[in-house]
């Protein structure tokens, strides 16, 4: 018999263990392996989810352990969905999501396309470009806060240099009009490299012979771009959009550092608002309902999106 790693491992197994395992069915052995994972999944994912759903129908407050907990039916959900302030938070989140994803995909893909060309210093440029995503969001938030400072901020001086405006005449973080864009700019700066890397993986996975065949068929560069490059990178791009969409839906640290949700509530994204309800106001039941609404929204949108992604892959 030929010695393979499998047969070697089988022979090395002590006889007592082997005998014990021999008595078990394949299904039982499978359960032994899968069991701990399922247990952990139930303990840290499924149970808290069910518990949160249960709490969402109550007036429970975690900071009042002695207080009687009443079931309030759908009141928490009703309050949330009828609260105009929460809809404003949703709008702010949608604005942030839409523009960050759009800009990151456009710039990320462009950078990946350029980096994919062979040129001197290619690796160095790749390293430089991916630096922002290696930083902590709290650090990024803090130093962009300084960059946006109207009196000493570099960003304001650069804008002033090109527009001729007084640097201290506009406030990126303090203006209701500009603050939503200021967080979009920072998130785009930080996470475009991530989209670029995914796009780069997609571009590098396209075999050269496809382009060679197109060249033989005398297809123009533009035609090659739209009929080969884009369709073949699309699944990667869509994956990047999914990752960034989910990440930005729960964006918290960067925005808290930059604006704290202000001015007023202009940049108060749903995650910031949820944290305030749950851990500052301690309205645990209400916050649970809020979390469930957000969970259903993200889960629903992500499911639809993943189906679309699979269809694109199948093509």
């Amino acid at each position: 018999m030929t010695e393979t790693p499998l047969t070697h491992a089988a022979r090395a197994t002590p006889p007592s263990v082997a005998r014990k395992i021999k008595g078990l069915s394949d299904r039982a052995i499978a359960w032994i392996f899968v069991g701990p994972t399922i247990f952990l999944l139930l303990a840290i994912n499924i149970f808290p989810l069910i518990w949160t759903i249960n709490l969402s129908f109550t007036n429970f407050r975690a900071n009042r352990p002695g207080r009687e907990v009443d079931y309030v039916g759908l009141r928490n959900y009703e309050r949330i969905l009828n609260d105009s302030d929460i809809w404003l938070n949703m709008q702010a989140t949608a604005h942030f999501l839409f523009w960050t994803i759009l800009l990151q995909v456009l710039i990320g893909f462009t950078l990946a396309y350029l980096i994919n060309k062979k040129f001197k210093g290619n690796d160095l440029w790749t390293t430089i470009i991916v630096l922002p995503m290696m930083l902590s969001p709290a650090v990024v938030g803090n130093f962009w806060k300084f960059l946006y400072q109207p009196q000493i901020g570099l960003f304001n001086y650069i804008v002033a240099f090109f527009t001729g405006k007084d640097p201290s005449s506009f406030e990126m973080l303090g203006s209701v009009q500009l603050a939503p864009w200021s967080i979009v700019i920072v998130d785009t700066w930080m996470w475009t490299p991530f989209v670029m890397l995914i796009c780069l993986a997609g571009l590098r996975s396209i075999p050269d012979y496809i382009y060679e065949a197109a060249e033989i068929d005398r297809a123009s560069k533009l035609r090659q771009f739209f009929t080969i490059t884009i369709p073949m990178v699309l699944p990667f791009l869509m994956l990047a959009v999914l990752f960034r969409g989910i990440e930005n839906f729960k964006m918290f640290d960067l925005v808290v550092q930059l604006t704290g949700g202000g001015p007023g509530s202009t940049t108060e994204l749903t995650s910031i608002n949820l944290k305030r309800e749950a851990f500052e106001k301690w309205r645990t039941g209400y916050a649970s309902a809020y979390a469930i609404i957000l969970f259903v929204t993200v889960f629903g949108l992500a499911s639809i999106y993943v189906k679309a992604l699979n269809k694109v892959k199948e093509r």
């Binding site: 975690a62 009196q151 001015p263 007023g264 509530s265 851990f279 106001k281 301690w282």
Partner: protein, 439 residues
């Protein structure tokens, strides 16, 4: 028999010695905010360590995270802190949720009288329900929101002449809120020694309590009240009274016309930075910082002076400060009570003031030397005579966050009117009190 006596005496001696040793071995942790007075308390507490044999550890949390961190600690029944110098607004929650030890029996047993402390501080820092003789803290650090200004700029002839020409009156410490704004507007954008300076640094912070603590500095002098009748939670006509609306409009005008650019999310630290860097002529902040400001080598000493929050329709200052409580989840409560007993001593209180802490003990405040003991001491006394505090209800955090949002939305984000902001605030607070079963 003699041997038996000796053995008994030895055993008793060992027991007493053992008790003493175990009492002396206690390590106490005192939790507070990380700021100048905390350093003074560390210094002061060395004497307690020497006298009692206990060891003091300190857990100081930066102000923006202080409430979050400490309230989480209490709500999770954590035993990190044996002693907590908690904000005045926490007293309701601390008492009702069982976080703080009730101190009445201890005070009676040790002869500590609340009558020895300034009435306003006892009411604000120690009692729950308000005004009753149920004590959950000893007044530890009296504080209020006050003002400081560049005395050297105010004294310059060219500036004084320009001010006189612009306003028709002499440049001096403001006697009213409107004068305060007028002075701030005068300095706004002015060139002094080749540098553009601004009017004043006020509180505009959104995340914790900043803008509320700032705006109440205008609301209280205008006559703002939380309820028409104390304890009734009837807010309509009080919270949104014409005077309150006028005060809120005033604060917005102040923010828009007399503060440095980009001053949209600023609290204590930013106020200190703006003043120390020579950006502003005046700044609001807590009296707790005044000793440090006076000692500053660049903008302190002869260059600085202080004034109480100016009145408008009446005198009024925003209360700061804290009481010291024993955390009920601590297993070293006896040692913690030893600390409170020691801290309540008038001599210790005098040292506390000398080191830079703000004693609330009448023996210190009513001493003939007190007013002249520091350039801000008289202002502090005056401020403490007219302080008002935010809600101290168990749901204070919810009430505070609602106010933060409504005020910031109006003042900084320029959304809606002052009347709308206060009307919405009443709606928010009503909802909270309904949830609490108080309405």
């Amino acid at each position: 028999m003699k041997h038996a006596h000796l053995a008994s005496a030895s055993a008793l001696g060992l027991l007493v010695a053992g008790m003493g040793a175990s009492a002396q071995a206690d390590e106490l942790t005192l939790c507070w905010a990380a700021w100048d007075p905390a350093n003074a308390l560390v210094e002061l507490s060395k004497e307690f360590e020497e006298q009692s044999g206990h060891t003091m550890n300190f857990e100081f949390i930066p102000w923006p995270n202080f409430a979050d961190r400490m309230l989480n600690e209490l709500n999770s029944r954590g035993d990190l802190c044996d002693l907590l110098i908690g904000d005045s607004q926490w007293i309701g929650g601390g008492a009702e949720n069982g976080h703080y030890v009730k101190l009445n029996d201890f005070f009676d047993a040790e002869g500590i009288s609340m009558g020895d402390f300034a009435d306003a501080t006892v009411y604000a820092y120690s009692t729950w329900p308000k005004g009753t003789e149920n004590y959950y803290a000893l007044p530890a650090m009296g504080d209020a929101n006050g003002w400081f200004y560049r005395k050297d700029w105010f004294a310059r002839d060219d500036i004084r002449a320009a001010f006189l020409e612009a306003t028709g009156r002499e440049l001096a410490e403001p006697a009213s809120q409107k004068e305060l704004l007028e002075i701030a507007q005068f300095f706004q954008g002015r060139e002094i020694d080749g540098q553009t300076v601004y009017g004043a640094a006020i509180f505009t912070e959104r995340g914790s309590e900043g803008i509320t603590m700032g705006v109440t500095g205008a609301l209280y002098p205008w006559g703002f009240k939380y309820e028409n009748t104390p304890g009734s939670y009837d807010m309509e006509g009080a919270v949104n009274s014409p005077e309150a609306v006028e005060a809120l409009e005033f604060y917005k005008e102040f923010y828009e016309t007399a503060t440095p650019p980009g001053y949209t999310n600023s609290y204590m630290g930013e106020s200190l930075d703006a003043f120390k860097s020579g950006q502003v002529a005046m700044a609001m902040n807590w009296f707790a910082f005044f000793p440090g400001l006076y000692a500053d080598p660049n903008t302190g000493g002869d260059k600085i002076d202080f004034f109480v929050n100016p009145p408008q329709n009446q005198a009024g200052s925003t209360l700061g400060g804290q009481g010291i409580s024993v955390v009920s989840y601590s297993d070293k409560q006896d040692a913690a009570l030893d600390y409170i007993k020691w801290f309540a001593d008038p001599e210790v209180q005098q040292k506390w003031w000398d080191l830079g802490g703000y004693s609330a003990h009448k023996a210190v405040l009513e001493s003939p030397d007190f007013v002249d003991s520091a350039p801000f001491a008289g202002d502090f006394l005056e401020a403490m005579g007219a302080v008002q505090d935010f809600w101290q209800e168990p749901a204070y955090a919810e009430l505070l966050l609602a106010m933060q949002k409504r005020i910031h939305d109006y003042v900084v984000a320029d959304q809606g009117t002052a009347q709308e902001a206060l009307d919405k605030l009443i709606e928010d607070w009503t909802e909270t009190f309904e949830d609490e079963g108080k309405l």
